[in-house]
Subunit: 437 residues, 2 copies
């Protein structure tokens, strides 16, 4: 299938972000009318908007009208403010009303994702009548996997899948074959929750109802794949310690990107300054025993690493709904034990590393055994603290109404660095007091 | 809809990971026959397997037969080795043959995701005949969004959506209304690539064909939502610096989890030991100017933070196909400039922090201005190096055939720590040589 024109459209779509404005126009013009439509449909909403605004007005109208209302709404959402009015004017009256209604919803609610066009049936039709009726309705539906059964008040009574319609007897009544126990969402249900429902119930579409049970539209699963990708990207960027970008890396302006990264980096830097304050307090110890300074990066980074492991693990579990706020105590207990186990592994490696180096290079002076013990005990303490702090921070953020993904690896590392220094020098005092200190 | 029994099933599904074996059994038994089926269908494959194996044999047979072949294959894949044979024996002959064929594919290939049952039509049928024929076929199809048109040799000729069928004239021939330019995948296409195709083309199902063009099955989009979530979870766990877990956090055994975290943590610790080696080389400098030790955590963590920002950003862009190997030079150039800009921001903050503290607490001795300059220049160097190393490492890993997500935040931080120390002490020599050093 690689040499078919459809595959060529896929190639162009893949190359799109890497093309100049001119290149995009040339690629678009090189296609036949039908293929241009395919290309337009396959682009993301911001790409569609940018392409559309390069075209003359009569062509804009043609391509805009190819889109179902939810996709038109996305395109207009992504377009520059001064062009929105003009784009809306290109739609026919019915579509414009639908798009305006959709634009009123928050972008990441079920209402913002839904398509107001869906296949509807009456409960008292027969299956044969329903199939005939759907053949007439077909033109107005984006996707027909299910038909929804509505009462005279437009309230949702049930759903029939096409499979149900095809396998039932032609003379059966729709309310006999429909499933009346429907998984539905409200207009303001968050898109992450909608995605979870799709995944839990293996559905192809979910109806959106208002508080009175009146059906407003459907969310289809093809929109959910994009939602899931977007949410994961946002979480990953936050875990990496930055504000989420709004578009692809190469299409984000240089200064916007620097700004989104500089904010967190500067905040972390201010937090990390506490290490300088802590270190100043330990200057006397360091001048007495410079050997202690040697292990500072090793100790604090081990705390940071174990902390970022724990926090990313818990962030993702919360995002997938595997772990909820109520589980915090179970997680805390588990992570304390994990921390001790992981810290002990590092302590053993670190202890023998010092003994071996001492044997070969005589690096650490007469009290090398006490230094090795200091490092080993500190590692257990620091890793345990890192693991516990890293696993609890996402819960704290969620409890405070913030995004758990903000418990980024760098954030946790910074938090653990200061504590790590305090743990290290406290252990040093206990172990080395009277000898080196 | 919250008090309907369907909603109650959703509650049980959500609570499932938090229930004991006994509690699961009780919840299951508390439902009517139909609801039990709903519950079973909504569980994940490992949960289904665990529940099934708790049931007596005649019930096992009933529930196993509710699943379409691709889901049965997943369930059997997830079951303990000694139970697989027994479960396969519960299937009817046709299903068993299908499941065995599916089990032969790698789990994360298109072949491992596909359902061998799909709606098929002949090119020379009329639309009316096709609709009548589909009504007969219905019982054997998991999902009917599209019907596939096959020639006598079972080669894929085209596809008709139900919408096409419903809107076409009843007398038209199928080969007149079908789309012959089909987006299809091979059996060994990676599931990430399949997910990208779904997202790019807004499809509900994609046909799987063998090298000769013979149609083998379909991958449906509801399976892809799970794939996308799984792949993102794997990436996030790797970015957090650990091996990906295979199941939810609370269901993973304690020692298995410790093992998956200890491996990377120990590897990072061994890498981080280079900092101790580097620090040993600078012991003389530290004893001459203890004030230098004060800023070590601040400097190295800034490098680590900027590095993990850059690496997570690039890892995700590569995973989404926004950035490819060919873009490495564009990214490198961009990240060098970002690094200088971000480093300068931190340098300015750090410089004034030292001047202010000196003014208030007189912390840093006579040469405080030179110390401040050392810190500032080091920050620019370290952040630039961190940003560049963090952004290039995912490319290097991809080039070497490894997963870019292994360029975890902790991995990058460790890499940058050692270099950070070298940069810091080199700058210190240049700026403070003749005064403090």
């Amino acid at each position: 299938m690689t040499d078919s024109p459809r595959a060529f459209v896929s190639e162009i779509v893949a190359a799109w972000p890497h093309l100049s404005e001119n290149g995009r126009m040339q690629a678009f013009r090189s296609l036949t009318r039908d293929r241009r439509e395919d290309l337009f449909l396959d682009l993301t909403a911001p790409e569609q908007s940018q392409l559309l605004l390069m075209l003359p007005e009569h062509e804009r109208r043609t391509y805009l009208r190819v889109l179902p209302p939810d996709d038109s709404a996305d395109l207009i959402q992504e377009s520059p403010l001064e062009t929105k009015e003009g784009l809306l004017a290109l739609l026919d009256d019915k579509s414009r009303a639908e798009v305006l209604a959709l634009l009123a919803y928050a972008e990441d609610d079920a209402g913002g994702l839904m398509n107001p066009r869906f296949a509807r049936l009456r409960p008292d039709m027969t299956v044969d009548e329903a199939i005939a009726y759907l053949r007439l309705q077909g033109r107005n539906m984006e996707t027909v996997y299910y038909a929804y059964v509505l009462g005279h008040d437009q309230k949702l009574l049930g759903v029939v899948s096409f499979r149900d319609l095809f396998t039932a007897s032609g003379r059966a009544r729709i309310d006999e074959v429909m499933k009346s126990d429907v998984v539905a969402v409200k207009e303001n249900t968050d898109q992450e929750e909608v995605a979870r429902l799709f995944s839990a119930h293996s559905l192809a579409a979910i109806p959106v109802i208002d508080p009175g049970g009146v059906m407003k539209g459907i969310v289809t699963i093809d929109d959910i794949v994009d939602v899931v990708q977007e949410e994961a990207t946002e979480d990953i960027q936050k875990i990496g310690g930055m504000q989420a970008l709004e578009g692809p890396y190469l299409e984000t302006g240089f200064w916007e990107m620097v700004r989104k990264r500089a904010g967190w980096l500067a905040a972390l830097f201010l937090g990390e300054m506490l290490t300088a304050t802590a270190m100043s307090r330990y200057e006397a110890e360091i001048s007495k025993a410079v050997v202690l300074a040697v292990f500072i990066p090793l100790i604090i980074s081990s705390g940071g690493n174990s902390g970022s492991q724990a926090s990313t693990l818990i962030i993702r579990s919360i995002a997938l709904g595997e772990v909820t706020l109520r589980d915090w105590w179970r997680v805390a207990r588990r992570e304390v034990f994990s921390g001790v186990a992981l810290g002990s592994v590092l302590a053993i490696i670190g202890f023998f590393r010092i003994l071996i180096w001492q044997g070969v290079f005589h690096s650490y002076g007469d009290h090398y055994l006490l230094v090795a013990l200091t490092v080993a005990f500190s590692l257990i303490g620091v890793v345990m603290f890192g693991t516990l702090a890293g696993s609890m921070l996402p819960f704290v953020l969620r409890r405070a109404g913030m995004d758990p993904a903000s418990a980024s690896a760098p954030f946790v590392a910074t938090m653990v660095d200061v504590t790590g220094l305090v743990i290290y020098f406290t252990v040093a005092h206990l172990v080395l007091g009277g000898t080196l200190l």
